[in-house]
Symmetry: C2
């Protein structure tokens, strides 16, 4: 009786349908997300990565950020919201988790998977956290990841608790105060082996912090975000990820050499190549043979390309 | 093929279920709402009111605010969050829309239907807006209402757009910057006759403003809230409520006399009764016969009650 009267109430009160905040989930080739039509950012983005999907030929240089064609335009972020805002476009499902498929990587550049992220954080600490997740696939069969934004309160000089965050562009995209990640590693039987929850301020983090500095109890993240991430899994019994594995992110020198390597690969002019290479000296780094060889071969390639170009432009 | 690969992706990526932000809708006897587990307030509250459900014997004095027993305690607001916070407990589905049923009224006092509202706004402008909605049922067969909170950006002295709002209590209940209402009136065939959307700052409003000062285009409210309120209704063709009806709220004098009447009815001591009655003079109001009779009869009742009480307390 109570149920049928509730159904009757629904039919009367919601005669014109359930107020719609968009689909609960949006499914892509290699990630699934829930999108916040008010904030114009994801709520959560889920991934399952293995050795298999983080390696492959997909090339991010062929891809541009774009509004998600699946999101209604009135609720969509646009590139113009981000450009000149002072905030970078931060992936939640990282491009680098989609190396196996150009299409999957393309989908990771939809703005439904993006939020306004501090540039140094995006390229630095958060990047190293993403690399740590990918490294876990070398040791564990699968890695389950949930990423997303938070707006957390602070306390002002009068002891008042309040939430404050910028919005950018004409679509008023919300800039989160923090980003979260839940990481679950799985054993060969695909059983959960370790779980860690992390809340990282959307600010420059630098190299002084260990990942554990940002570890929180999953319950705390659930309360702040309003989300139970794995409703069908009793997470209480799962050991702490940072006890099972190290939670050590890549060290500064190694990371900076890695980033220089990526920039050398991406260099399109000799001038830029030399500028990148000079970072080795200014940052007081010691390149390994791989990097020296990479520099030399890119130098040869670009020298040849620029010679050809000069000749052609003279001829034309 | 694309669909089946998406289903496969869902099964793998969301092996432990869809991240859960609570049920999409929560159905009560006379209202339906969606609850924000992160903000600990409703997202939207829907009602359909008629002459039939705004009249009756239900008595709000027998009811106390309480946490919604249907909301998981980790996501629930509590009375202690509100008490001493400086913010009142503001109904979205008003208690006064549930006079036909004590049970429905009781449900309207669940904190899932409540948000932190400026006290003057709650008892004043917003109250008058709710009374206006009830008055509409005298002229129109049905009135459809959606109410809820918004956090809207402001611009600081440097031209920066940001959102700022307090959170209260240990559960960090979000205090909205604004409240919204969508009102649809229906004709005798239950067809939509007029629609108005309003965004009211969560501040004292006073009597200087007309309701139209807060009217917005429904599209604007949809974009800010991320909600399409009536997905099965083409709202574009529906005339403006304030053109069809007046959107005139009750005038100051009439409203203050009405509020005094309610306080007289609720008075439990002679002292309080006299204090309320003295407002007539200090506010320079002219009571009508109904109010004068109400005052006199309450005075007789309370005089008698207090006499009895004195006698009894002497005896015991
Ligand atoms: Mg990134
Ligand atoms: Mg109220």
């Amino acid at each position: 009786e109570s149920l049928s009267s509730q159904i009757k109430a629904s039919e009367t009160i919601l005669k014109y349908g359930i107020p719609d905040r968009g689909p609960d989930i949006r499914v892509y080739d290699n990630h699934i997300l829930s999108y916040d039509q008010a904030k114009k950012t994801p709520v959560w983005v889920a991934e399952y990565i293995t050795k298999g999907n983080i390696d492959g030929p997909a090339d991010r240089r062929k891809i541009k950020f774009k509004s998600d064609p699946n999101v209604q335009s009135q609720f969509s972020a646009e590139n113009s919201d981000y450009l000149g805002s002072g905030w970078s476009r931060g992936h939640m499902a990282p491009a680098g988790d989609n190396k196996h498929s150009q299409e999957a990587m393309k989908q990771s550049f939809y703005l439904s998977n993006i939020l306004p992220q501090n540039l140094e954080n995006n390229g630095g600490f958060w990047n190293r956290l993403e690399m740590y997740c990918r490294d876990l696939t070398k040791k564990y069969k699968g890695v389950r990841i949930f990423s997303g934004p938070l707006v957390l309160p602070t306390t002002d000089e009068n002891g008042l608790h309040y939430v404050k965050y910028p919005v950018i562009g004409k679509n008023e995209v919300s800039v989160p105060t923090h980003l979260y990640k839940v990481i679950i590693i799985e054993n060969d039987k695909s059983e959960p082996l370790g779980l860690g929850a992390f809340i990282v301020p959307n600010q420059p983090i630098g190299y002084e912090h260990h990942l554990k500095d940002f570890q929180v109890d999953l319950k705390q993240l659930e309360r702040s975000s309003g989300i139970i991430f794995t409703p069908k899994l009793d997470t209480v019994k799962i050991p702490d990820l940072c006890q099972i594995d190290s939670c050590d992110l890549m060290k500064r020198d190694k990371f900076e050499l890695y980033m220089i390597g990526r920039k050398l690969q991406g260099a399109r002019t000799l001038k830029y190549l030399e500028k990148v290479w000079s970072e080795i000296e200014t940052k007081n780094l010691t390149p390994d043979n791989y990097l020296i060889n990479l520099y030399n071969s890119r130098k040869l390639e670009l020298t040849y390309e620029e010679k050809v170009k000069r000749k052609c432009s003279v001829k034309i």
